[in-house]
Amino acid sequence: PLPPKLGRPSELPPEPGPGYEGDEEFLRRLHHVLLELEVLEGSLQCPDSGRRFPISRGVPNLLLSEDEA
């Protein structure tokens, strides 16, 4: 549901460029990020609210506080 923002902006462009389906290098990096990368420490950011959810030891904490819920 929430797209991760990685601390390595050079790895992937913010959006897929035109003709990305044929861009082998891009596809390989995308595959790596989607299927092989596990975030152990970091955060997820909600694209709507901007609220950050911390990830610790590979498990994201998606609990909302009382006033957020």
Binding site: P1, R57, G58, V59, P60, N61, L62, L63, L64
Partner: protein, 495 residues
């Protein structure tokens, strides 16, 4: 891929020690799980002549120990030697013992045949063929020695009777020691005089007969138990076997265990096929819910390839582990609010090597950070405060059910484990819902607070969209619980 769901019979896998005649077996089962065992042996082993009684499932199958070991809903698996009606009970102890001995004791040749069947069943378990007989015994010995780490050391008296008390029947409780400590590993070096032939290549058969050790595990209940105790029977049988066959009684690490169960329903004699109960999973590091019950719940969820399955109160992840092992072609998600539970679940998942199958979230089941109608199945053990001081309040039930119902897609399955108390509430409200949900608050009427009334009307509406598809009473050892299955037939918001 996992085994077929439902009743389709499977062929024995190639290379299995089919031993052309179909062997007769029985599996002990926790109370309430017998139907699951029956279904599983049919589906997984192509079993025939499947017969359930309280606490046991008898069947015939032509498969090897590898496949047998994969049974997931049973407690222990035995080779069936004898199954008769209940023994006639008389007040005369001597006469009773005689009856029992007649049932169990046979000529040495009978036992040798049995042992050779048992060995054939085990001799090809992944080991090279053509291994010599005594080497087979040696190898089996070292397997057993590593398995000793899982035995508890009790007095010899108790050992004769207790073994793994994993069978539940009327008047007995199911207690399985959890977390067997590896400190209890007592690999003793036996005095060499006892096993003169080990590795010497001398006449193995004769020496095996001499050095062959056994133990009788007897369990009796009902009318017989009023005349004789399990210990007395076990002892008498042990003595008789020593006299008859010249074997050595070894209560700690016998070559052969003979299991005798006498009650008002039947008299059964069998030999356990494996040292450890089936319920012990080598892929689970820390068990939460009993693995057999967890597997049974997953088996009801109809998990198909590509399914998304959620346990929103996953605890140590037992249900997800059992499901992911059996139905690996699905995606599993677990959520919990407790850090320590999630850590345990994470460790379990790594130990089981299921990292790519199971995702964990720290989240509350009352506010799941998941899209509506996104899961094919929701499976959960709703904790009733027995182990964890989490939820002791049935008032949380409506919120929990609401979220579970929301994330479930129409046509999806919901499988819950409920305490008797929770179940009573759910059942009462389900009958209200069936009668027309709009008036539910009035019908469910004796609630004093409006909050509770709101909860109950919500529950009624929810239960209108969740159609019950089965309920199963199961024993969890000290307590009983109920597995409930529902199917979502419409979104709760609609009509």
């Amino acid at each position: 891929t996992g085994p077929p769901r439902g009743g389709r019979a499977t062929r024995a896998p190639p290379g299995a020690m089919a031993a052309a005649p179909r062997g007769r077996f029985f599996c002990t089962a926790g109370r309430g799980l017998e139907p699951f065992v029956a279904r599983e042996v049919r589906a997984r082993l192509g079993a025939t002549e499947v017969d359930c009684v309280s606490g046991k499932v008898f069947f015939r199958a032509a498969v090897g120990p590898g496949e047998l070991r994969r049974l997931r809903s049973g407690e222990r698996l035995f080779l069936l030697l004898k199954r008769r009606g209940p023994l006639p009970v008389c007040g005369n102890r001597g006469k009773m013992l005689h009856e029992i001995k007649s049932l169990v004791i046979e000529e040495p040749k009978y036992w040798l045949d049995i042992i050779s069947v048992w060995r054939k069943l085990h001799g090809h378990e992944g080991k090279a063929d053509g291994v010599s007989h005594s080497a087979l015994v040696l190898k089996r010995k070292s397997e057993e020695e590593t398995n000793i780490a899982n035995k508890r050391q009790k007095t010899e008296q108790e050992r004769a009777v207790v073994s793994e008390k994993c069978q539940v029947e009327a008047g007995e409780t199911c207690v399985v020691p959890e977390g067997m400590s590896s400190q209890e590993c007592w690999i003793e070096s036996k005095p060499s005089s006892e096993f003169p032939s080990k590795g010497c290549g001398e006449n193995p058969t004769a020496n095996e007969q001499l050095s062959f050790s056994f133990r009788v595990s007897c369990r009796c209940s009902g009318a017989i138990a009023r005349i004789l105790t399990s210990q007395e029977i076990g002892r008498a049988l042990g003595v008789a076997l020593v006299q008859q066959c010249g074997w050595r009684a070894d209560l700690r690490d016998p070559d052969l265990e003979i299991f005798v169960h006498l009650n008002d329903i039947h008299s059964v004699v069998g030999i356990p096929l494996f040292r450890l109960p089936l319920a012990n999973r080598d892929y689970i590091k820390t068990a939460g819910l009993r693995s057999t019950v967890a597997w049974a719940m997953a088996s009801l969820a109809e998990i198909s390839a590509g399914a998304l399955v959620l346990d929103p109160m996953c605890g140590l992840g037992t249900i997800l582990l059992e499901a992911a092992k059996e139905w690996p072609e699905a995606c599993y998600w677990g959520a919990d609010i407790s850090d320590s539970q999630l850590e345990g679940a994470d460790e379990n998942i790594r130990t089981a090597d299921l990292m790519d199958k199971i995702e964990l979230l720290k989240a509350s089941v009352k506010a799941l950070p998941l899209p509506s109608e996104s899961f094919d199945s929701v499976i959960s053990d709703i904790p009733f405060g027995k182990k964890f001081k989490m939820m002791n309040d049935a008032q949380l039930l409506p919120d929990i059910l609401q979220e579970m119902e929301r994330v479930l897609r129409v046509g999806g399955t919901l499988v819950l484990l409920l305490s008797a108390e929770l179940r009573g509430r759910v059942a009462a409200l389900a009958s209200c819902a069936a009668g027309g949900s709009a008036q539910a608050p009035a019908v469910a009427g004796n609630s004093s607070s409006s909050a509770q009334g709101h909860g109950e009307s919500l529950l009624s509406r929810l239960l209108g969209s969740l159609v019950p598809e089965g309920a199963y009473a199961v024993s969890l050892g000290k307590t009983d619980a109920f597995i409930h299955k529902y199917r979502k037939v419409s979104a709760a918001g609609d009509g």
